[in-house]
Amino acid sequence: MTSPGESHSPAKPTDQSGRQEPGTNALTSADSGGVMGDRVFSGVALLSGVAILVTLAFVAIFLSFNSVGAVYREEEGLILQQFLEYAYPLVIGTLIASLIALVLATPVAVGVALYISHFSPPRLSKSIGYLIDLLAAIPSVVYGAWGMSFLGPALVPVYGWLHQNLGFIPLFAGNPSQTGRTIFTAGVVLAVMILPIITSVCREIFIQTPKLHEEAALALGATRWEMITMAVFPFARAGIISGVMLGLGRALGETMAVALVLSPGLLTASLISSGNSTIPAEIALGFPEAPPGSVRQAQLIAIGLVLFIITLIVNMTARWIVNRHKEFSGAN
């Protein structure tokens, strides 16, 4: 934040610039039209900021405008029912894949963040952080290819075993997939992709834990783990939650990995047979073939709008928690 005094400072040179000889100073020589320059520059800066807000609004407006065709048709009137029947399996599929990813990624991510902040040799911790950030740098289509060609086939025996021994649970019922291209594989790939996001948020928060709290716990005889549960976790709870929600937002919107890994199908409860689909995968697979202006395109844009709203809510909640927490940690 700029201090209030600083923002007044350009007013003072204004009085002096008239008296100054032109060309006395390389920096002030071009000040003949100075007031204009200041106004134009600040105006452009303000405009850019507003343009971002307008863009976000336009995303919502354009998507709503273009998805009207999916819920309303001249000859049939309002067809909300039909759209909901189309949309709900996709929403459920998206949620299933994201939940699998969250359940798998959260413990590992918190563990990795703890390793970096409290367990690793201090000199190496920065490089280890970069190493984990590399996971975020790998393009999603490469993850998709990896999941399709490596992870899927590697998980086939696991699915067979789960089906044999736990087949009575609906999650593991049904024909186990022979290619491994199931919603569970997609969830594992998503877990790998959201791991660096959750890790980096948690790491930042863990590092901010007040040193005095940690040292007080250790001085009272706590072991390192007791120190972490008594000093670090209570301080970082909000940060962990928001990191998990940011990861959820990423998992919900991830397209290519799911589009490549999953062989899409109807909604089923089984995680180990092919079936289910997610909103982003459905759009990516369907949109290039949908003719412009058709009902199909409107339908795809409409589920895109649904996805946008879901991720917007998730992200806004996460950011709200982070921002609120920021104020708290300032008092520490």
């Binding site: 452009v44 850019s48 007791e226 759009i283 998730v314």
Partner: protein
């Protein structure tokens, strides 16, 4: 605290000199109890021994089912955590054992996180290299490559033809255009936030929604680009302007990518502008320099290395995006240098199409070979950009201590 064995002797040793019972002990070395710092410690080699034992047991257990490395790793990790918990529990105490267990679990989590990283990089490199070494892979496009060419390559072993030149051109054009759109807007926004905003509602709203925008699904950005350009072209055509009728073209993809890129640029440049010392600004104002010239001549040059690094990272992020380009620019088999006319292929979309719709559906090996080689090229580009960003940030960083 709960080390009761430790606390109990303390009163005894205080009373010890008073009572003659102490002197009964003949050997003075046995009187010397270990201090609380050295007592209850396992020798340093315990962990190593437990690791070897659990690795051997893990190998035995996993070969009972069917030996493979994944199973072996799982068994070894579980056994190591359990055995070291048990040993510490028996030899030391419960609290230390619990501490040890969680420490081991944290280490295991770290190893688990590294496995996919190495697995992805290893698989892409090992499968991608043969395709990359195919002559003309970088210099040719997919014009004239059809199912029969690929069938011959797979059945008779003729070289795999076709390459990624058109995809490289498309990626380059689309990403550069997106950069030219995003950097001015992003930089000016962060200047507004750092230099002009005074913590009012507007600046807080911008900061908040920029954060929210970083979480927009990339496919939604693509849909927005397609919808916005479709609307724009519709209005333009109805006014009789000479515009293309379909929105599928390179510039649409660039607009969609900008939606993803702007928030990243704002976040990184804002951070860099904030660390510019206020003294520099005040010195400039004191010389009578206007605010906008101060920003251009003092603030931005000081932060330029960080800004360049941030922009490079943003480019690295969007160059790997597939979904927004797929729905806005489509895919073609030949070169297209024109951003404003016709479909355009980007490298990630090329990879996706080669996997999803192989050129010859029944003979997919050549397509997969091309896709893996293209994935290797993409990873090299992205890693190179990340490395460049780090180098820029460290080499050209402003000196921390003046004079």
């Amino acid at each position: 605290m709960s080390q009761t064995q430790q606390q109990r002797p303390t009163p005894a040793s205080v009373e010890g000199p008073a009572g003659p019972a102490r002197q009964k002990v003949p050997d003075p070395s046995s009187v010397l109890r270990p201090t609380s710092l050295t007592q209850n410690r396992l020798p340093w080699w315990t962990g190593l021994v437990i690791l070897v034992v659990s690795a051997a047991l893990g190998a035995a257990l996993s070969s009972l089912i069917s030996f493979n490395f994944a199973l072996w790793f799982v068994f070894t990790a579980v056994l190591y955590v359990l055995i070291s918990y048990g040993v510490t529990r028996v030899k030391v105490n419960r609290r230390q054992a619990k501490d040890k267990m969680w420490k081991n679990l944290v280490y295991v989590a770290f190893i688990i996180a590294l496995l996919p990283l190495f697995s992805v990089i290893w698989s892409v490199t090992s499968i991608g290299i043969p395709g990359l070494l195919e002559p003309g892979f970088l210099a040719s496009d997919m014009q004239g490559i059809d199912g029969t060419t690929d069938q011959r390559s797979q059945e008779e072993g003729t070289p795999v033809l076709g390459g990624i030149r058109h995809a490289l051109v498309g990626s380059l054009l689309i990403t550069l255009t997106a950069t030219f759109i995003s950097v001015p807007i992003g930089l000016m926004t962060s200047i507004y936030l750092v230099e002009y905003a005074r913590g009012g509602t507007l600046s807080r709203a911008i900061t908040f929604f920029v954060d929210v925008m970083t979480g927009i699904p990339s496919i939604v950005a693509g849909l927005f680009g397609a919808a916005a350009m479709g609307w724009f072209l519709g209005v333009g055509n109805s006014l009789g302007l000479p515009l293309p009728t379909r929105s599928t073209m390179g510039i649409t993809a660039a607009i969609a990518l900008s939606v993803l890129m702007i928030p990243v640029v704002v976040r990184t440049t804002e951070e860099m502008l904030r660390v510019v010392p206020n003294e520099l600004r005040e010195a400039s104002y004191a010389l009578g320099v206007r605010k906008w010239r101060t920003i251009i001549k003092v603030v931005i040059p000081t932060a330029i290395s960080g800004i360049a690094a941030g922009v490079t990272l943003a480019i690295a992020r969007v160059i790997g995006e597939t979904a927004p380009i797929l729905v806005t620019a489509g895919f073609v088999v030949s070169n297209n240098w024109n951003l404003f006319q016709g479909w355009m292929t980007a490298l990630p979309v090329y990879i996706f199409r080669q996997f999803q719709n192989p050129t010859s559906p029944n003979f997919s090996d050549p397509s997969h070979q091309r896709a893996w080689a293209a994935a290797l090229v993409l990873i090299i580009i992205v890693m190179g950009l990340n490395l460049t960003a780090r180098i820029i940030a460290t080499l050209f960083a402003p000196k921390k201590t003046g004079r």
